[in-house]
Symmetry: C2
Subunit: 406 residues, 2 copies
């Protein structure tokens, strides 16, 4: 089955907004086994939109149109699709009332043109998910006697995603004649290089390829580590989940504590969850990383209930004792942060002093827990900005491993 | 003149990479007055690439192909263009030698397939800028007796940009028959709402529209403030620059110190430059902003020569005196950071205590200089994450204004 994406909006062509919707949709289509051979950006122009959608319908089975569903005069996706379907527009009273209700709840007067969003081409159905004021549409179209389909979803990313995940992807799979379901899980790892990871799992991947009931793919994702995506196809949701759970167990056996989370979990969300569960607080001495750790952590803990604070820069760390090793200095800095800020745990990330010789990218990371301290010397790749981000993940990963031990 | 963009790469359709190149090109084309009506993403497939480029050539005067110029077997942009031109490929010896030299300089053996990048369709010329190993191409194509052009540039963004700015945009303008040049400058403002800014400049914009020798456009850019873009068309670079300088002077008169910079300058780059010029250092107490200020500043001052450090979280600030106003507490925190870290200047951003009532988004920002202290109470819009970013710019802007006074 083939499905194209048409992203609608003059602002996309002018570069005022980057079209991330098509990329997101492309990824989702690949996961359900639908081929996406073209993605086109077109402006808010009737003729060019009509041409683009018609062409996409000729060479594919389905088209997803993103954008142009708003209330203003240049939002014409509905009208273009009605013309292609060869039908009139009909106002959907339930949707119209729903839009009125939304404005009433917000306590704002509704400009009359908002009701344009309740106009639905005859024969089209609206998508149940409606996080905004614009309904999505499923529009069947006959092309040379073959039933094809145009989906219209809003350009607002979170609205588009809700409709895609709630309706469009399932509908596409149903139309493709697939009765099976596809589930996938991303297993997130840190500490492996891509080739080492692939090698560790090589035998298992080969066996999977033969059995055919699940697939494994690797995706190197920079400071997010390497993602291992397990995809299973089965006759039911339960059966797919069962396959994935079995796969995950096998992979966990092989990769051990290199796995820090699954799916949307991040290194910082995992560490924060572990600390919350254990009722522990922590503080940081960010000498090398200049605030990146604090920024990432406080984004998830804005009230600073777990992460109590940090010092940025050399002030406030232990006195510079040139007799100390880098690791000892990192431990002293973590200890100092822990004591000064009054937390259970302290972490620190230091660069070597300028007058010492170390391999490029050398970083000292330390974690001080109530009952023990640990430090690591690592050599991180890349330019300084990248190295700093890696250093943040490195020290969080060290903390994660120590927490998971007890 | 019309120019389409074709972004080549299966990884774009799969959503593994977001196509930001087309957006960047679209913005540049608009600035030189070239219409870009379609932008298409297509995979590394000969037939579909040929179809897409041919269709773009039929409806436009020029096509920019991004990507598919690398050394591997799936990099086939060169071959597709040669077929469309109806010519053979010829190896360019100078380019081949240049590629060999690049590998030699890097001290790495050159895989033989890298020389594929030196293959040039007959009749095409190579683009002088060559930051990587893949040359860009300017390929004239006759379509129904009309001379059109296909440009091939790499998908690596910085390589693409260098070729666009060094060759392609000028070549497009020349082909469009324009002998004039277009220059533009972005004047960066903070502290105005979009409508207030537009109103302040309204008379001037009207006058400009009549005179026709320059245009002004506004772009609200979130925490980057509102950008005012001045574009001038003239017979020479000097003449265009002269018009822009005169416009900038007029706008500066009207907007005064709401202007913090031009073009690529950011609030933090401007503040850092001012501090460097004055040989001053600063420190921050980031109670509300959780490390965002430190992260943004240390990205530009990684050695921490100007920005000496910060405290994140409530620790280390002045004792919590409930008799103090929010502004007084912010000044005390800034003073404490300045003294504890030992700098000339301290800044602080605080949220009100939980037990006090304040309008949503209230933030106290303070700047303490050697000879005076100043605080502001502001109400910032949006969710917490957005509010924090605004708070960072707010306190940096306050510092900028005080520094510019003397």
């Amino acid at each position: 089955m083939r499905c194209e994406v048409v992203a609608v909006g003059t602002e996309l062509l002018l570069g005022q907004i980057v079209d991330t919707n098509s990329s997101w949709i492309g990824e989702k289509l690949a996961l359900i086994g639908v081929d996406c051979l073209f993605q086109v950006k077109v402006g808010d122009n009737f003729g060019r939109m009509e041409f683009t959608i018609r062409q996409a319908l000729e060479r594919s089975d389905a088209v997803i149109c993103c954008g142009g569903l708003g209330p203003t005069q240049d939002d014409i996706t509905r009208d273009v699709i009605a013309k292609i379907m060869g039908v009139e527009m009909k106002r959907d009273d339930a949707i119209a009332q729903h839009i009125r209700d939304i404005f009433e709840k917000r306590g704002r007067p509704m400009p009359e043109n908002n009701l344009r969003q309740a106009d639905v081409p005859e024969g089209a159905t609206t998508i149940a998910q409606m996080p905004g004021t614009a309904p999505g549409l499923v529009c069947p179209v006959l092309v040379d006697g073959v039933e094809k389909v145009v989906y219209a979803v809003p350009g607002v990313p979170h609205e588009m995603r809700e409709m895609m995940e709630g309706t469009v992807l399932d509908d596409l799979r149903r139309r493709s004649g697939e009765t099976s379901v596809i589930h996938s899980r991303v297993i997130r790892t840190w500490g492996y290089g891509e080739s080492a990871l692939a090698e560790t799992l090589a035998d298992h991947v080969d066996a999977l390829d033969e059995s055919g009931h699940a697939t494994i793919a690797f995706q190197a994702s920079g400071i997010e580590g390497i993602k291992v995506r397990v995809t299973a196809k089965a006759e039911s949701h339960d059966a797919a989940e069962k396959i994935i759970a079995a796969e995950e167990a096998l992979i966990r056996e092989k990769l051990g504590d290199h796995i820090f989370g699954v799916d949307a979990q991040t290194m910082e969300s995992v560490v924060l969850d572990m600390l919350r569960e254990r009722d522990l607080t922590f503080a940081a001495a960010e000498n090398l990383t200049g605030g990146i750790l604090s920024t990432r952590i406080t984004a998830l803990d804005p009230a600073m209930e777990v992460f109590k604070g940090a010092t940025i820069g050399p002030h406030g760390t232990a006195p510079d004792d040139s007799a100390m090793t880098g690791e000892d200095r990192a431990v002293a800095a973590a200890m100092h942060a822990r004591e000064a800020i009054g937390t259970d745990i302290g972490v620190a990330v230091l660069a070597p002093p300028a007058d010492e010789e170390h391999p490029p990218g050398t970083v000292f990371a330390a974690v001080v827990l109530p009952d023990r301290a640990e430090a690591r010397t690592v050599a991180l790749p890349g330019v300084l900005s990248r190295m700093r981000s890696y250093a943040v993940i490195t020290v969080l990963d060290l903390l994660r491993k120590r927490l998971s031990e007890g």
